[in-house]
């Protein structure tokens, strides 16, 4: 971690803050190429909205988004082959090291799957997102992206007309902007950059949540809730940032780490600031007790977006948390350890116990994600090399599984839209054995049964935590995961052992995009369960740099 010279850092940094430095700092373009590609492509996507004829927009946007993710991935791999220890760039505001590269790779791979899900237009005719307003009303007036969420009011979205027109394609640049924000978030080397990245990743997500074609009100309610609570959490983060600046005289992680290592400054500022900053991250990662938005938002958002949120946001939030704890607050871990310990327990208990009684599948998976956040917390507070690599692996494994889960949920539909109530899934195996089998496999992965990546992730995280002396926490986590098996087993039993309702939902035949996304998720889940070294090797190359 000692890449940066530490002498004189506070002075130089305050200069940066005050914008007095006019020199362009040197930039390691090769290292940050993946982020740049994604952000540039997001801007291009906005231009596409403005200039490309409406009929071709969907195809252009899908091609652009997929191409972006693939190119960014290629740039990442190219850089990852060369890098050994990593370093910082953009005047020390961004740090790219082995662990960050792993997180970027995870985010890009998951985003690829999410974009495939979002691009699907065969399950819901025209796509799962708000239809083109002007086309529906027959108008030809020019449109610009800014009016997207607000103008898409419920009455314009008449179902009959909506089903024939295509969806709004602003979705794609929004996803790319959010993705770019997430990538910066797990590479941020100071709290201010982190905060900016947090906003960049969050704002598009708020919009995306409100863009469902069906059940408009539920979707918009989710978006508003997410936005209000997200803004609230951001405020906490910002306040914590201010307190930490007061404590360390700098917002840089390395300075905070130096300050905590041995100083006689006010611990009140440190711990109050730490608590508030961490709370903002726990909110994003939907860790209990800051999880309350999760079920409502997962439930209301379009399923493909829920998949994107559940997979990518989780990775970004925990990536940021890992960086913060490993780089900035390692020295004070003795004090905060027990507090976050209890947060982990709380999250597991809330997720598992609430998940047991849910009758809606999306809400159930939301609670499952809260429980998983608890398991991830176990890894996040294990500040050893093994703890880090295990948590990174867990994030990758969980992301792919949950993405495929939401992809599969989107397939089971009634005339009203998606059939997410549990009773609709009764006897699904009789109607569509393949979908039921795939879903069963994914649920078993969430439950952590061997031969799935879920087992490997849990095994790696729990054994790392155990070795680090957190035996009691591991016992609680094991009990919680044993109990959590109930949640998934209930669905499996329902699908296989119950009789289908006479007017039950139909199972759509997925188009090529959704098939590809689900297949990707299932294959990765299986592959990482059988040969985890594929990813574990990479996850354990090295830690964060600062």
């Amino acid at each position: 971690m000692g890449v940066v010279a530490r002498t004189g850092v506070p002075d130089r940094h305050s200069e940066v803050l005050a914008q007095q430095s006019t020199d362009m700092p040197p930039i390691a373009y090769a290292a940050v190429a993946p982020v740049l590609i994604v952000l540039v492509a997001a801007c291009l996507g906005v231009l596409v909205e403005a200039f490309v004829p409406r009929r071709q927009r969907w195809a252009v946007q899908v091609a652009l988004s997929l191409l972006t993710v693939v190119c960014a991935g290629a740039a990442l791999i190219r850089h990852a082959r060369e890098i050994n220890t990593g370093g910082t760039t953009f005047a020390d505001t961004v740090a790219v090291g082995p662990a960050t590269l792993f997180l970027w790779g995870t985010l890009l791979a998951l985003a690829l799957g999410a974009i495939l899900l979002i691009a699907d237009r065969s399950i819901e005719p025209g796509g799962a997102f708000v239809a083109e307003t002007n086309a529906a009303s027959g108008g030809t007036a020019s449109r610009h992206p800014a009016d997207a969420p607000g103008a898409a009011s419920a009455e314009v979205m008449d179902r009959a007309s909506a089903s024939v027109v295509g969806m709004r394609t602003e979705v794609f640049p929004l996803v790319l902007f959010s993705l770019g924000g997430m990538m910066v978030f797990c590479a941020a080397n100071d709290l201010l950059t982190m905060f900016v990245a947090l906003e960049v990743l969050s704002l598009p997500l708020y919009l995306l949540c409100g863009l469902a074609r069906r059940r408009r009100l539920l979707s918009q309610e989710a978006a508003v809730k997410y936005f209000l609570l997200g803004a609230f959490a951001s405020a906490f983060f910002l306040y914590g940032l201010a307190l930490l600046y007061g404590y360390a005289g700098s917002v840089k992680f390395s300075d905070i780490a130096d300050a905590t290592a041995g100083s006689l400054r006010s611990d009140t500022l440190l711990f109050a600031g730490l608590g508030l900053v961490v709370m903002g991250l726990l909110f994003k990662g939907s860790v209990g007790p800051f999880h309350l938005w999760t079920p409502d938002v997962y439930h209301g958002a379009p399923t493909a977006v829920t998949g994107f949120m559940a997979a990518c946001t989780k990775v970004a939030a925990f990536g940021g948390l890992l960086r913060l704890l490993h780089v900035a607050f390692r020295a004070s871990s003795w004090e905060w350890h027990w507090v976050l310990w209890s947060v982990a327990v709380l999250s597991m208990v809330i997720g598992v116990v609430s998940g047991l009684t849910q009758r809606d599948l999306k809400r159930m998976i939301a609670y499952s994600s809260i429980a998983h956040a608890g398991f991830l917390m176990v890894g996040a507070i294990t500040l050893t090399e093994r703890g880090l690599s295990a948590t990174l692996f867990y994030l990758l494994a969980y992301g792919f599984t949950t993405l495929a889960v939401f992809g599969t949920i989107g397939l089971v539909r009634t005339s009203e839209g998606e059939a997410t109530h549990l009773s609709d899934w009764a006897g699904l195996a009789k109607r569509s054995p393949v979908v039921a089998t795939v879903f069963t496999f994914l649920l078993l992965a969430l439950a952590g049964i061997p031969a799935t990546s879920g087992f490997m992730g849990k095994f790696a995280v729990f054994s790392a935590a155990f070795s680090a002396g957190m035996g009691p926490l591991v016992v609680i986590a094991l009990l919680a995961s044993a109990l959590a098996a109930f949640i998934y087993l209930r669905v499996i039993v329902l699908m296989f052992f119950n009789d289908p309702a006479p007017d039950g939902p139909t199972v759509s035949v997925p188009g090529a995009f959704t098939t590809a996304a689900i297949t990707l998720g299932v294959v990765v889940t299986l592959l990482l369960g059988l040969v985890p070294m594929l990813a574990l090797d990479w996850a354990s190359v090295g830690g964060f740099v600062s």
Binding site: L276, W336, T357, V474
Partner: protein, 670 residues
């Protein structure tokens, strides 16, 4: 450590000290031992993925893969048989290679695993063949190409065999855990195979969840080993076991025992096993009698170097075994369902094995021997019960049977031999293995010898009672089925089963008769196992050596006689009498095993103190959706939290944030 170098450093390393060509052949056989697992796994994949196309030949493929595995196991056995080396480790690939967390996927071929492989593939082959006949009709009566059910069934069976082989062949505790969960999953699928029965779904879920409780113990033991030794490979763990403190060893021993109790249906986690009889009968024979449920015994025998270090741990194992064997016997006396009686008989026989492995070096090999002989006669008994059900329209109530020996002579003869072997009739296989365990139990010093030995002898008498009762009610006496009908109102037409079913039964009956003698003559098995389990130590029994067999046989004879007086001489009532003693009532209620299970397994987990009445309606035992209502109270509280109002969410966040900061401040600032 040095013993595992035979194949430890690579797949191609050959065995030392053998003539060149033989050596090459043996080396090839051993280095490709992974095929034993891969063949049935491939079979499962083909059967489950091929779809309807495979309906016509799927069952044949299913049988062929297991028989091929058996053949390979025999070849492996003969290539290892006479060699001096105790264990070969076969490194396949490195599975989890992260700096200090190293888990290799490898196989360990030693006498203990070989014995299990032969049992699993041998008995497995017979049961596969039997299933061809048993599953010939699906639930809608379709046969041949239309019978998707049978193909799926064979797919699951193959999957089970593969997982079970991973369990016993793996060379580390983590590999064992992989197989452990794999057999749990396959067992779950097979118990719930007849999906249309709600009871099957409930039983499958119960089995799965009770096993998870045990798995927590196993997982913790593995983590503990990791944390203390940094490895879970058997060879390294056992070589470095003396680095562990005695407290750690005891903790590991007890945690492993918890895992073993879950998988092997031992007190207090025994209640799932009888419910598991909802599955098709071949499943009961293969999984819930001969192989999977003995995995717990395997685990403890495998970990014998650890158990040998902790006397307390051994004693707990022995006590669990002794209690279980009595509990199983007592409950077995009260049931009228032929499969449930056999299930509780299995519980109690595994209790004997647990007792044996709990006796330490004096008993490891004896436990494994009883496991083998039990594998033969209990599988035979279950197949016989399946044959009876096949001829009696799937009826399981023994009160509707009677006088069947005339209609099913082969079933009667094979079942009868299995019965005699189970009650320890002299010179049949059960006699040798059970007698040896009872003798070893009496050889424990002091009060332990009297208590453990006494329990074992008493169990033998009770076994004789309930099995004779079962025989009399099923095959002898009045033909009660003549004036009774099935629950659907059909009449009974008992008939003998086809040859594809009776064939395996005959083979198993031969095994029930001869296995005991073959394995014990010249201490063959004990000697063969000694590299893995240590030399068998014989102690001084608290009773003279000659008295014990006489006592056992005498008590067994009393059991048979009492059964004849109670059941054989009198008319069997059509329905179970209701005015019975509290003992019988308790036994019919599984000695309150379910209630106990909820108390020890569910309640602490749930942390809710509801009344017992409420648990009756909604617990692990209830319908699947009822599970949730056990947690209803707590979950309801949490749900009220989820109001849907942003203002209350924001309030909660604020409170949470304040608490978080307050906690940090109180810990962080002095």
């Amino acid at each position: 450590m040095d013993q595992r170098n035979g194949l430890g450093d690579g797949v191609t390393t050959s065995v030392l000290a053998a003539p060149e060509p033989v050596q090459a052949a043996q080396g090839a056989i051993q280095s490709n031992a992974w095929l034993i697992i891969a063949i049935p796994l491939l079979g499962a994949a083909v059967l489950l993925l091929a779809g309807r196309r495979a309906n016509g030949w799927g069952h044949l493929l299913g049988c062929a893969t297991v028989i091929a595995s058996f053949g390979y196991a025999l070849a492996l056995f003969s290539s290892v048989g006479g060699s001096e080396q105790a264990a070969r480790s076969l490194h396949l690939f490195s599975w989890i290679p992260v700096n200090s967390l190293q888990v290799d996927f490898g196989l360990r071929i030693d006498p203990l695993s070989l014995v299990f492989v032969l049992l699993i593939t041998g008995v497995g082959s017979l049961i596969h063949i039997y299933s061809i006949g048993y599953m010939a009709h699906d639930q809608q009566g379709r046969t041949g190409r239309g019978n998707t059910e049978r193909r799926r069934f064979f797919g699951y069976l193959n999957l089970f065999v593969a997982a079970m082989l991973i369990l016993v062949l793996g060379n580390s505790f983590v590999t064992l855990y992989l197989g452990w969960e794999g057999v749990g999953l396959a067992s779950y699928l097979l118990i719930g195979f007849w999906q249309q029965r709600p009871s099957a779904a409930g039983a499958a879920t119960k089995a799965f969840v009770m096993n998870r409780v045990g798995d927590v113990g196993l997982a913790l033991a593995i983590f503990l080993l990791f944390a203390r030794l940094g490895t879970t490979q058997y060879a390294e763990v056992f070589a470095r076991a003396d680095e562990l403190s005695s407290g750690t060893v005891l903790a590991i021993a007890l945690l492993l025992l918890l895992g073993a109790c879950g998988k092997s249906g031992q007190v207090p986690l025994q209640a799932w096993l009888p419910d598991a009889m909802e599955g098709p009968t071949p499943v009961s024979a293969l999984i819930h009698a001969a192989t999977m449920v003995t995995a717990g015994v395997y685990l403890i025998a495998r970990a014998n170097p650890l158990y040998s270090m902790t006397e307390v741990g051994q004693l707990v194992v022995a006590i669990v075994g002794a209690v279980t064997l009595l509990v199983g016997c007592v409950i077995g006396c009260a049931y009228d369902d032929i499969k449930k009686v056999l299930a509780y008989s299995t519980v109690s026989q595994i209790g004997y094995m647990m007792l044996a492995v709990g006796l330490g070096p004096a008993g490891y090999a004896l436990g494994i021997m009883h496991l083998l002989t039990h594998g033969f006669f209990k599988a035979g008994l279950f197949l016989g019960a399946g044959s009876v059900m096949h001829g009696m329209r799937d009826e399981v109530d023994m009160r509707k049977f009677g006088g069947l020996y005339r209609y099913m002579p082969i079933t009667f003869a094979t079942f009868g031999l299995g019965y005699l072997a189970l009650i320890g009739f002299p010179f049949l296989s059960g006699y040798y293995s059970k007698e040896a365990i009872i003798g070893a139990a009496f050889a424990e010093p002091g009060w332990r010898g009297w208590v453990l030995g006494g329990a074992a002898v008493l169990g033998a008498g009770l076994t004789a009672f309930y099995m004779t009762r079962l025989m009399l009610m099923t095959f002898f006496g009045e033909r009660r089925w003549r004036n009774r009908t099935t629950s659907e109102g059909e009449e009974f037409h008992p008939h003998e089963s086809p040859a594809v079913m009776t064939g395996p039964m005959i083979v198993l009956a031969v095994g029930s008769v001869a296995a005991g003698f073959l394995l014990t003559s010249g201490e063959r098995l004990v000697h063969f196992l000694s590299p893995a389990l240590g030399e068998l130590q014989e102690g001084h029994t608290v009773l003279p050596h000659s008295v014990i067999p006489v006592l056992t046989l005498g008590l067994s004879a009393v059991g048979v006689l009492v059964a004849w007086l109670v059941v054989g001489r009198r008319r069997v009532p059509d329905t179970a009498p209701q005015r019975v003693s509290p003992v019988v009532r308790a036994a019919r209620a599984d000695l309150y095993g379910n209630a106990l299970n909820r108390a020890v397994a569910v309640r602490p987990t749930v942390g809710l103190a509801d009344g017992l009445a409420r648990f009756d309606r909604a617990g692990v035992d209830g319908t699947v959706n009822g599970v949730a209502s056990t947690l209803g109270a707590l979950s309801g509280v949490l749900r009220r939290w989820q109001t849907g109002f942003v203002r209350s969410y924001a309030m909660s966040m604020l409170v949470g944030g304040v608490l978080l900061v307050a906690a940090l401040l109180s810990v962080g600032t002095p």
